[in-house]
């Protein structure tokens, strides 16, 4: 995706966000809505300006955006999409499964998928256990900070 397109998409997203916040703020009483109104109106105006700007602005970043760059970007996007998905699943399951168990699974899976050079298989659980042992020692034993529990630990 070129910078021009990224900017255009983000301008639309932000316009909708500020627009929604503006409409939502209409139901606030007079005093609490003064500042949100100012912010959202200004946000809508600036987002619209950003959108319009994408039609006439020259983007230096896009000058060297060729097929090779596109292929590289696609590979990176795929990895980031996987990373986001893994993070969403991880965070979503913390309360259900329990922090330590799901973190162990997340650490192994995430490091395996994200690392470009593969390591011996036994290193993934060992590193995950090591990191979680340190977290357990510091947070649960030393600082006594409770971490979420599910049907497992």
């Amino acid at each position: 995706m070129t910078m021009k397109l990224k900017e255009r998409v983000s301008a639309v997203f932000l316009f909708l966000l500020f627009g929604f916040a503006f409409i939502y703020s209409r139901k606030f009483p007079d005093i609490p809505k003064i500042i949100p109104t100012g912010i959202t109106v200004l946000g809508c105006i600036l987002s619209a300006m950003l959108f319009v700007r994408t039609f006439y602005m020259h983007y230096k970043e896009d000058e060297n955006f060729d097929a090779a760059a596109l292929a590289e970007q696609k590979a990176a996007t795929k990895k980031i999409a996987i990373a986001i998905l893994m993070l969403i699943i991880y965070v979503g399951l913390i309360k259900v499964v329990g922090f330590y168990t799901i973190s162990f699974v997340f650490m192994m899976a995430f490091s395996y998928v994200i690392d470009t050079e593969k390591h011996k298989l036994w290193t993934y659980p060992v590193v995950a256990i090591g990191v979680l042992a340190v977290i357990y020692g510091i947070f649960s034993m030393f600082l006594q900070v409770p971490l979420p529990k599910g049907f497992l630990i």
Partner: protein, 500 residues
């Protein structure tokens, strides 16, 4: 004040606090040495370690993390030509050429010594400038408080080097997020969507962890693993240190430290700017300017003294006026708030028992990273070899722990995740994350000031606006805001004109 300073040092010298300081420093150096893991991310991820501690001990540890990570950035800058933190960018200019000449150990040694002198200068500035500024802030009323927050927001102009328009939008987004929760004047709940956890507003720490740490994690996930040659680390020879090494470039240390401390005080200007400014100054006045850029030890001395002096300087506006000097100071401000402390004069009076140990810890942190750095430079250099997958997975888990442990609330973890993902997409589109954080942190402060002024002026908008220009301090602050907004624009315009 002297009694407070002595009390601060006696608390900081407590064995447990010294241990925490040392631990924080070591962790800070490790985080700083990792390319792509900035000081901001290091401090944000490690703040949760301080939750269970008393305020003074927690802040002493944070001082160690901050100073350690700023110094740690020089390790990868010297060895790999990749600054561990943005503040060390200028160090690559001479640090890496030194390494290529087989003088990498010498470069690390100089970076450590220069960082020490810079850090001490920053700490002195913090000790002696912060209390009078905090005292002056007592003259502030609601108008002045609002104008201070607005002044903090004008930093967005200097931060938005890429696009001012995007900088303003980022700032507005931060301000909008700061509106979530109960309104300061009437306690009316805004944008909470029936979620009870949002009544108190968006918690700052999860938002910061998401915006800085998770965003960086996602960015690094998509990057190809950097081809980091470890030949430089294998061949690294650290020479024996002599007392003469500590005072090799006294004038450079002094000049660069002064530059760094002042740049630190100016909100928005960071360690990277100070590094380049000090480098230019050292080169200009050097007897051997031609050596600069080719592996000159004095070049490393200049940049490292300056970027470490920034640490102390950046804390001055944060502690006294509630304006974070840079992104790390913004995160530290979150750490202060978690401990129930608010910036301002009360920090130096009512909470002197917390603030002065923190300041003393800041001084001791300079000694801590110097000792640790000089002894373990070669060992710390190994950290750059940690595989990316393991590192990022560990950071992901720490992000979750950090946001959850702040208030034992799973909603904070969801907030962190949302901010991280949205922050990542905005960052890739060239939006400035720091501007969002500034808006978020200063939004409620600005609103509280405006609403107080509005109430004092009998709820008349015209009279409220007039009160901002009829009060002398408020008027001066307003002028400073205008200058702060327009001077970067003017200089950019002049530069453009000169180029064309």
């Amino acid at each position: 004040m002297l009694s407070n300073i002595l009390m601060g040092f006696s608390t900081a010298f407590n064995p447990m606090n010294l241990l925490l300081l040392m631990g924080g420093t070591v962790l800070g150096i490790l985080f700083g040495a990792l390319p792509g893991v900035s000081s901001t991310m290091g401090v944000a991820v490690l703040i949760p370690l301080t939750y269970g501690m008393d305020a003074a001990s927690g802040l002493i540890m944070l001082a160690g993390i901050y100073c350690g990570s700023t110094y740690g950035g020089s390790i990868s800058a010297c060895l790999l030509n990749t600054p561990g933190t943005p503040a060390s960018a200028a160090t690559t200019m001479d640090g890496f050429p030194m390494t290529r000449k087989g003088r990498g150990g010498e470069a690390l040694q100089e970076a450590c010594i220069a960082s020490f002198w810079g850090g001490i200068a920053g700490a002195l500035a913090l000790f002696f400038l912060a209390p009078p500024i905090a005292n002056f802030s007592l003259k502030f009323g609601s108008q002045e408080n609002a104008m201070m927050a607005v002044f903090g927001l004008t930093i967005i102009v200097s931060l938005s080097s890429g696009s001012l328009l995007k900088g303003f939008i980022s700032g507005l987004l931060g301000l909008l997020v700061s509106m979530v929760g109960m309104d300061v004047a009437t306690a009316y709940p805004r944008y909470i969507f029936n979620i009870t956890a949002l009544y108190g507003g968006i918690a700052i720490i999860p938002a910061i962890v998401g915006l800085y740490s998770l965003t960086q994690l996602l960015t690094s996930s998509g990057e190809k693993t950097g081809v980091l040659t470890d030949d430089n680390i294998k061949k690294l020879h650290v020479p024996k240190i002599t007392p003469k090494d500590f005072v090799r470039y006294p004038l450079t240390y002094i000049k660069s430290s002064i530059i760094g401390a002042f740049v630190g005080i100016v909100p928005g200007a960071g360690g990277n700017i100070a590094g380049y400014m000090a480098y230019n100054e050292a080169k200009r006045t050097s007897k051997t300017p031609d050596e600069f850029g080719k592996g000159c030890r004095e070049g490393v001395a200049a940049t490292e003294s300056a970027n470490n002096a920034v640490c102390g300087g950046s804390l001055i506006p944060m502690l006294t006026l509630g304006i974070p000097g840079n992104s790390v100071a913004a995160v530290l401000m979150g750490g202060l708030m978690i401990q129930g402390l608010n910036p301002g004069f009360s920090l130096f009076t009512n909470y002197a028992h917390v603030t002065y140990p923190f300041l003393a810890g800041f001084v001791l942190a300079q000694f801590a990273f110097t000792i640790v750095g000089l002894i373990g430079a070669k060992q710390f250099a190994q950290v750059v070899k940690v595989p990316k997958g393991f590192l990022l997975a560990g950071i992901g888990v720490l992000c979750v722990v950090g946001s959850y442990a702040a208030s034992n609330n799973i909603t904070d973890v969801y907030i962190m995740l949302i901010f991280g993902i949205v922050g990542y997409f905005l960052k890739t589109a060239g939006f400035d994350i720091s501007a969002i954080v500034l808006g978020l942190m200063l939004g409620s402060l600005a609103e509280a000031g405006f609403m107080q002024a509005f109430n004092l002026c009998h709820k008349s908008i015209g009279a409220t606006l007039m009160s901002f220009v009829t009060r002398p301090i408020s008027l001066v602050l307003l002028i400073i805001c205008v200058v702060s907004c327009f001077s970067p624009l003017m200089s950019a315009h002049k530069k453009k004109k000169a180029q064309s």
